[in-house]
């Protein structure tokens, strides 16, 4: 298997491409999830369709770089519109995302029919982007993905401090005179890069999970941002490679859905057993507390030690209070004010 991974041309491309996507979307997804933009990926990936169609209509070429450029332009435009609608009207972010998603996709579908009419079999590959075509990745695409992803990661590395502040305390960032609006645009715009990479691999529909799931899984293991980013990159890359290997070894299985199912399994395991916030540990502690309350205490001691911890509500941030001061890293408060 390892031998194949290194020397088999197709498998190497698929695995490498999926791994690149996993790392980039894992890292950028962390910021998206923390900034509650988890659905931005879904909206922007749909919004890319008219860009791809227009790029093809204008140039007549199906070169990956041309189509990716079209996707990026349309995605960027969609993002700007979403942010504008949210800022200038009382329309909530979900509706704004939904409007741009459906309208852009509708325009894309119209353009697709225009292409189908005006053209011969040459347009066949265009609608493939709905579900991705990881198995058909060629080296040229993988190289493009690596370059684009590298640029995105470099920007995150250079502006790490600013992005971190923007994610946790945008008001404070503004009071420090940081150009928050431009940073916001840049950070959200980086999502477009992840999406353009992802369209080649997992396709429009599944792209949103590629951004959200690794970050949400990583969040359960740590309360520090840079560790969360590390875990998310690892989970993303791991599910990418796993998806590639499984789908190649079992014929008939499409790569994209297998990647998404892999990352979903990682997320479920993390939600249950994540070292920082796993549901299972909460449950275990509750059981222990209940037992210490129910068991006839030796004098007053048992009840006294049980009472304070038993009062902790289910789902309260596990490690947050105790680790808050220690590491100096930001604590994401899972409990307070998150009522949906």
């Amino acid at each position: 298997m390892l031998h194949d991974l290194i020397f088999d041309y197709t498998l190497r491309n698929v695995a490498l491409g999926s791994a690149i996507l996993g790392v980039v979307s894992g890292v950028l997804g962390c910021f998206a999830v923390l900034r509650r933009q988890g659905l931005m990926g879904d909206a922007l990936s749909h919004a890319a369709l008219p860009g791809i169609c227009l790029a093809y209509l204008l140039t007549g070429s199906k070169t990956p770089i041309v189509l990716m450029l079209g996707a990026a332009v349309a995605g960027w435009l969609g993002m700007v519109l979403i942010l504008r609608v949210i800022r200038h009207t009382r329309i909530d972010s979900g509706s704004a995302l939904g409007i741009v998603l459906t309208v852009f996709f509708g325009i894309g579908v119209v353009l697709l029919t225009v292409i189908q009419k005006s053209n011969d079999a040459n347009q066949a590959g265009l609608d493939k982007f709905l579900f991705g075509q990881a198995a058909a990745l060629v080296q040229e695409q993988v190289t493009t993905m690596a370059v684009l992803g590298g640029v995105a990661l470099l920007v995150v590395a250079l502006l790490y401090k600013e992005f971190k502040l923007l994610a946790f305390d945008p008001e404070f960032a503004q009071s420090l005179d940081l150009p928050t609006r431009r940073l916001d645009l840049l950070l959200t715009g980086l999502l477009v890069i992840a999406i353009v990479i992802g369209l080649n691999t997992v396709g429009v529909v599944l792209m949103s999970a590629m951004l959200v799931a690794p970050a949400a899984a990583a969040r359960q293991w740590t309360n520090s941002l840079w560790r969360m980013i590390g875990y998310a990159a690892l989970f993303g890359a791991g599910s990418g490679v796993a998806g590639a290997l499984i789908s190649v070894s079992e014929s008939r299985l499409p790569t994209g859905p297998v990647i998404i199912l892999s990352i979903t399994v990682i997320l479920i395991v993390s939600l249950l057993f994540g070292s920082a916030r796993g549901v299972f540990w909460d449950w275990l502690r509750q059981q222990r507390n209940r037992r210490s309350l129910e068991a006839p205490p030796n004098g007053e001691e048992g009840a006294a030690s049980g009472a304070p911890t038993a009062g902790v509500p289910v789902g309260a941030p596990l490690a947050a209070p105790s680790r808050a001061g220690g590491s100096g890293t930001p604590i994401i408060r899972g409990g307070g004010g998150s009522g949906a």
Binding site: G38, I91, G98, L101, I107, L112, L271, S338
Partner: protein, 368 residues
């Protein structure tokens, strides 16, 4: 009815049923749940296929609606665990279900034709040729029956639970305190959305269903803040988008669903720009008017402060003012012209003099 009329009627009925279901969806800020539900339909159809051991419209419908509610339930569970925020929960649940659907199709049902693309884009063009057959009799196009009853059901739901929906949407706490069972209402609304999505989907496709659910109420919310007009406007926008989209699509021979979604976008865009109070243009006009008014008042107060003092001559000199107030010379000029047009001041002998009206106004501002 000829087939063109049937298609137009199907589009209009899809628009009305979706607008009715979408109003509270948008007001409750759950718009993206519709997107999630619409995508979860694919695995639902697959599940129905597996359960019925073959294609079966009824079981497929149940499976799809069930998958929609399963999506809502999974998202709720994730949010309630407080490990994942709502947006992320939605963003991960529906791709997972969708991936599961594609996975099952490709692994276990390789010979079955479930066209995922068709589920997404839909095809309204063929609805006239898909009749409802009961006991060998042809009762007309199936889509008309489905969407007609959906419109009725949704109108009925909205009428019966209008008060409850309104209260639980705008004041969830009070609704719960009065014993309105917000959770039950939430699932009822989501059930209506899921059934509408599934019912309209085979006719117009997932993306257009979501567009018809979200865009008309969102557009209407830019035009009014009251609920009854909001519902009426949502219906109007939906129908206008459906008819204009259908007309243009036949004119240019392009996808009808895509064109309707596009026209809904155009309607939203026009409203976003030109809505009488909340539109971008109205906002810009209002801001610039406020800026002008503020500038005029500042100038009047400045002149009033220095009136009768030693420095009056220099302080009321139009050529000197821009240094004093740190404004652009052109802005000073415009403000002076505007203020003298309004009769607040007069320009005599190279200096500005307040009129009585201007002095009163400056006094009012200073007291404010």
């Amino acid at each position: 009815m000829n087939s063109i009329q049937v298609i137009a009627l199907v589009a209009v009925l899809a628009a009305t049923s979706c607008a009715l279901a979408g109003v509270f969806l948008v007001l409750r800020r759950m718009a993206m749940m519709a997107d999630a539900i619409s995508h979860a339909i694919l695995p639902g159809i697959v599940a129905g296929y597996v359960l019925a051991r073959g294609p079966n419209v009824f079981v497929g419908f149940l499976g799809a609606a069930g998958a929609g509610l399963l999506t809502v339930f999974l998202v709720e569970t994730l949010v309630r665990s407080r490990r994942v925020k709502e947006d992320a929960a939605i963003g991960v649940v529906f791709p997972a279900l969708f991936a599961l659907g594609v996975f099952v199709i490709s692994k276990y049902l390789p010979n079955v034709h479930i066209d995922a693309e068709h589920v997404l884009m839909g095809d309204i063009t063929f609805t006239p040729f898909d009749p409802l057959l009961l006991g060998g009799r042809d009762y007309g196009p199936q889509a008309l029956w489905a969407l007609g009853s959906l419109t009725l059901i949704n109108a009925l739901f909205l009428t019966l639970f209008y008060k409850e929906l309104k209260l639980s949407t705008f004041d969830a706490g009070l609704a719960a305190a009065l014993g309105f069972a917000p959770a039950a209402l939430h699932y009822a609304l989501m059930g209506v959305v899921a059934v509408t999505t599934v019912g309209a989907l085979s006719a117009v496709g997932a993306i257009l269903v979501v567009a018809l659910l979200i865009v008309p109420p969102a557009t209407a919310s830019l035009l009014t803040r009251r609920l009854p007009p909001l519902i009426a406007l949502s219906l109007a926008v939906g129908v206008a988008g459906a008819l204009s989209g259908f007309y243009l699509a036949t004119l240019w021979d392009v996808s009808i669903s895509g064109m309707i979604a596009t026209m809904l976008g155009v309607l939203f865009g026009v409203t976003f720009l030109f809505a009488p109070r909340q539109g971008l243009v109205a906002q810009a006009v209002r801001r610039s008017r406020q800026r002008q008014q503020f500038a005029t008042e500042m100038l009047l107060v400045h002149l009033a402060t220095h009136e009768g003092t030693d420095a009056e001559a220099t302080e009321s000199d139009p050529a000197h003012l821009h240094k004093e107030l740190h404004w652009q010379p052109q802005a000073i000029r415009d403000t002076i012209d505007r203020a003298s047009d309004e009769g607040m001041l007069e320009e005599r002998g190279g200096a500005l003099h307040l009129t009585d009206r201007g002095r009163d106004r400056a006094g009012e501002v200073a007291e404010r």
